[in-house]
Symmetry: C2
Subunit: 125 residues, 2 copies
């Protein structure tokens, strides 16, 4: 359904993008699974495991901050990279107000994820 | 900065909207504080306390599902209701793909918030 610029294949354990890195491509998972995880105080915590059809990487696109987690292929995985030119054109159509609302949602998601990770770490630790 | 259709004043403890209710107005906090909370197994868990300038209520707007938490005024609170006609016009400018991406973000935020609440409940319980 999305306008895909290209497809990439990753083998089990290959990193698609890393926490803290720059880059704002948006992906849609086509085949396989992708693990979204973060290292908190030396412990890896899995945030979620994505299934085909799931979108990921959209946070960095929306708020233009570094990647907030690591995406790793689980098994052989095919991801589609969503056409940036197309997405930029869409985003730029929006008023500054609407863009700010979207950034507020992305910020809230980052904050909620961090809180959840802290709690998971406490639970483990 | 947002196009505000009207302002409403709430007294301490008054509910602005309730978890599970329908309604998709988006608010911007103008004065005072707003507590976002949820009852999990009979226990109230505070998700966050908003400050002036914060936007809230946008989740139900984006994904057209019931309110996922309760918003309550802390002290005397003034909220601006963002002009819906304006926002609808913006949203409708977007392609189905882009709208789907936004819904994916809203869904992820709901899921992450639920996970965080579960963990907080376990910690308390």
């Amino acid at each position: 359904m999305f306008q895909i610029a290209s497809y990439e294949t990753f083998q089990d354990g290959q990193v698609i993008f890393e926490d803290g890195s720059s880059g704002d491509w948006i992906y849609v998972l086509d085949e396989g699974e992708v693990e979204i995880s973060k290292i908190v105080d030396g412990q890896k915590i899995v945030i979620e495991v994505l299934k085909p059809g799931d979108i990921f990487g959209e946070m960095a696109y929306i708020d233009k901050t570094p990647r907030s987690a690591t995406a790793t292929a689980k098994g052989k995985t095919v991801v589609g990279i969503i056409d940036r030119v197309f997405f930029d054109r869409e985003f730029n159509k929006l008023s500054a107000d609407f863009q700010q609302m979207l950034k507020a949602v992305a910020f809230r998601l980052r904050r909620t994820t961090e809180k959840s990770l802290e709690l998971q770490k406490e639970k483990k630790g």
